[in-house]
Symmetry: C2
Subunit: 346 residues, 2 copies
């Protein structure tokens, strides 16, 4: 007879307004799970969940209803869902077998019995920390790749500005731009992150936006001849300052606007007339439209990791009980690098 064990979960408790709080979730061990597949049912996998990805987009799932939202809200009383790395403990699904490592959508819980395996990718390459599949080898990596290469139309010598530059996506965008022969400046919200940008990720310049009184002047200092490419992660005042400093025919890839998500009413962007004056293209994108590029991306990124040509910083919270704080910390910039939660290390 298989063991029945407590299954710790992070349950979604309240729809939010404004900033998400850890108290909108509750960590409980009330549930149990039998560590055995049900008999006579095919197509199931039983998983032990190893690493969780904390991503800004998840806030969209914590609101009750958002006009135009592309994704469903979380269900009250059910576990938070996100992306992560899982180990298959047992399988009645023809494509998975015991011991497989996979990444993809999962519940925030220690063990899962999964009926719908859609979106789960089998992990082939394990000579890296498995947590990388929550970031550089997962959605954040692909986001940086398609955002920079497909949306920004970069050319060698272009001047590139990245906001939230030490985050999961930003740190990669900056390095992809450097590898492409661009001049790259990043902004972040602490001096520690600014150090990382310059000394670990190889940005040409970086600044702490919280120390700058006049972002327009700051950008003029770093880009006396203007910005060709802006990789937008934050929105708000930064976007307005950037618009004033774009060069003719510049491109803005809109990946996120994290400074705006928690405001009752977004700050207005006042300088859109520069789209005309400078003939700018501003384009939003979602990585989910670009999954087909994942194999191409893996072919590009794996050698770079193996040859040590790319740096990657994670901020790993240990234990499912710390997952709510880790998720919420994204919105105050508490994380340094990609925010991960380690439930178990295998």
């Amino acid at each position: 007879m298989a063991e029945v064990v407590p299954n710790k979960q992070v349950i979604f408790k309240d729809y939010i307004n404004g900033y998400p709080k850890a108290s909108n979730m509750v960590v409980t061990s009330d549930s149990t799970i039998r560590l055995e597949l049900p008999k006579n049912v095919d197509g199931l996998i039983l998983t032990k969940n190893l690493y969780l990805s904390c991503d800004p987009y998840m806030r969209n799932r914590m609101v009750k209803f958002m006009e135009g939202n592309y994704i469903d809200s979380f269900t009250l009383g059910s576990p938070i869902r996100g992306l992560g790395v899982l180990k298959v403990l047992d399988s009645s699904h023809p494509e998975f077998k015991k011991g497989d490592l996979v990444w993809g959508p999962l519940n925030w819980e220690e063990y899962s019995l999964i009926k719908d395996t859609k979106g789960l990718f089998k992990i082939q390459y394990t000579d890296v920390p498995l947590s990388y599949y929550t970031g550089i080898l997962g959605m954040a990596g692909l986001t940086a790749y398609v955002g920079f290469h497909d949306i920004c139309s970069p050319k060698k010598g272009d001047t590139v500005f990245v906001s939230a530059a030490s985050g999961a996506v930003g740190q990669l965008v900056g390095q992809f731009a450097k590898l492409h022969g661009c001049y790259v400046v990043g902004s972040a919200g602490t001096n520690e992150k600014v150090d990382l940008l310059k000394n670990k990720f190889g940005f040409d310049e970086a600044f702490n936006y919280k120390d700058e009184k006049d972002l327009n002047a700051t950008l003029k200092r770093y880009f006396p001849d203007g910005i060709d490419i802006y990789f937008e992660n934050v929105g708000g005042k930064m976007l307005d300052a950037v618009l004033c400093n774009m060069r003719v025919h510049g491109r803005i890839a809109v990946c996120g606007m994290i400074s705006q998500y928690n405001l009752d009413k977004p700050e207005g962007t006042s300088n859109l007339a520069f789209l005309i004056l400078k003939r700018l293209r501003m384009e939003g994108f979602l990585v989910s439209d670009h999954y087909h590029s994942y194999p191409k991306y893996m072919k590009m990124i794996l050698p770079l990791i193996q040859e040590g040509k790319i740096a990657y910083v994670e901020d790993i919270a240990e234990g499912l009980e710390n997952a709510p704080d880790a998720l919420v910390g994204l919105f105050s910039g508490k994380n340094v690098g990609k925010q991960v939660v380690a439930i178990a290390h295998e």
Copy 2:
């Protein structure tokens, strides 16, 4: 001995803040001109000026300095400059001869002695009102053409929304979109203009934005399944409402933002997060980057005019003395159709 005649001019008097006023210009007959080319100087043309184009972009030249401006300010004490139709009275320039009709940049005055003929196009086709070269056969036409066909990436069946739709550019964009097999709705600021849109220009629907309390709801009414293409001429509240109603992978061509030009501080645009949610592309453009497409455009548009497949409405002010009011009227929507000033009819 050639005649010396008074040369009426519209002189630029004051840099502006906010709305341009007719009193920022002065119409004077203080200048005179000798209706003869100077001897022993080659490369000159003497012109009689027939039609002037009034365009919203001209406001950019009435401010003292605007960061990022792509065009020089007007010179205080000198004539306003714009585009228009001219007749060559005499020429020592090898490419022009007496009697030629041309269109391009000119001073707002009855006669000009022109040294720099750059930008002047010879008019080949005269079986239309010559004033058309200030609009449908000039910059407004080319703007509508490249803005719609090159920037909007239209497909048959797309839903298209045009603001300031009865203006010089808007009326053409709507008709090009109909010819392309699109569903087209336009907005304008009077019921007379709305009638024109529906009954003269063949828009599927049109509305008076001043009668609508909730533009978001209005757009939902006309576009229950969303907007594929927005041709942006106005900015401000309309843009915010449009952003909420765009379809996935929609395109916004930013041609102008006339509602914002005269404000001390532009209204902020709050709904840019929809760029991400709906993966929108928003792109500004200036017709001056697209002059090379003019011959292709003429080849397309002339048969349409000849076959009566395109309608075109002008609002012609008679006499140079009415030019300041005509220009200023653009910013309160006084004009119905393309605003032209007729100095002389030939």
